[in-house]
């Protein structure tokens, strides 16, 4: 057999869901991830949960970063998780959540399948480091 070299890159989907037009945070994180050497797929605005599921499954991303500032996280996140489960993509996708998430909701979201929540003011390095350390082995 021939010699094969591994050319792995961490792939992330940065996703905006629901009726939420605030994408500054998503843009900033996309650029930071890119500069960290990740491959970032950006969803654009106003996606339904099943559209995010389609993108995450097809792109086979290691990391799904969801940005929600509308307050609808408790409805939207479980729908995305359920969709990923349907395609067998939940287990080995790291799900991180950013935006405005009240403390009281955090435990429930983690219960629902979110691996980490990064609120406003989180240093970019912290998020990048978390992704580097926790991106699933493929």
């Amino acid at each position: 057999m021939s010699v094969e070299e591994d050319q792995r890159a961490i792939r992330c989907l940065v996703a905006k869901v629901g009726l939420d037009g605030h994408d500054r945070g998503a843009h900033v994180i996309s650029r930071a991830f890119r500069d960290a050497g990740f491959e970032v797929i950006y969803s654009g605005l106003h996606n339904a949960p099943d559209e995010i599921v389609q993108a995450a499954v097809q792109e086979d991303v290691d990391v799904l970063g969801i940005s929600i500032l509308s307050g609808a996280h408790n409805t939207l996140v479980p729908k995305i998780v359920a969709g990923l489960e349907e395609y067998g993509a939940f287990e080995d996708t790291l799900i991180i959540l950013g935006g405005v998430i009240p403390d009281k909701d955090k435990a429930g979201l983690e219960e629902a399948g979110v691996d980490a929540i990064f609120g406003p003011g989180t240093p970019m390095e912290e998020t990048i480091e978390f992704v580097r350390e926790n991106a699933p082995e493929r």
Binding site: F33, G44, E51
Partner: protein, 329 residues
Amino acid sequence: MSRGEDALVEDLLDGQYRALARTITRIENRSPGYRDLVAALHEHTGDAEVIGITGSPGAGKSTLVDKLAKSYREDGLTVGVIAVDPSSPYTGGAVLGDRIRMASTTGDMDTFVRSMSARGQLGGLSTATGDAITAFDAFGIDRIIVETVGAGQNEVDIVRTADTVAVLVQPESGDDIQMLKAGILEIGDVFVVNKADMPGADRTVKQLSEMLEGHDRGEWDPAIVETVATSGEGLDDLLEAFASHREFLESSGALEEKARTRYAEEVRTLLREDAGRLLEGEIERRGGIEELVDRIVARETDPYTVADEIVAPLEECLTREEAEPSVRN
């Protein structure tokens, strides 16, 4: 082939989206065993029609691809899209934004969109794209669209993996048309003047047809189509142009000829990569490239002699084989 790969091939052929996605990841990562994976898929391919779309940034490629995909889906066909974007040569990172324009087909699993970046691999991207086409084809996808920025040799190589190549230009892009001279004019089967509702579209069409006249393209006369991708205007003309090129390919035997050329190139590319890697190993055994360069800088030797020395064991091995062929079964 390991059990994991066997199962992956089985799941892919069984129509599982996740398996298709994972197979393309393996191809992109060049994970151990990816070659066996692609090799196992080959016998299941040959049914998809592959269209390549290239053009300068902002010409409207993704928007047009979106409309094409929508139209194919309405005809009951399944669609695969490979959207290639450049990556940073410094960090290897990339933001792949083509999905944003694919708004008409979101949520639909049978429009399978996959974003790919170059990952700094030299020429390797066209191999990866070709292998991803193989995966789509084996999965049973009817129409595969490969979309890439038409800016260099790499991109030209990528779109050449397609049966039909469409080159997109926008009106009043004199420089674009100049760029077409450099190799892209020869590979376009269909030329699309997009944003045809903008002033200057007629002039661009005229310029294009003048440039194409000077080129002998054999039996196929490249078509020029005007579209407005955002509204879908001219889409039917474009689909018709694709269909008649397809018909030409099939009736003239050019389709088979293209496939044969492609396979020949593929074998050669793989061999170049393999031989290159074997020789890298030989460089290491001789103390590494830096040490060899030191000797060249000191004028003790020269690049040609070094290359001769490194390739010598391989050459010896192959010529010995020729003189006294070993028994093979």
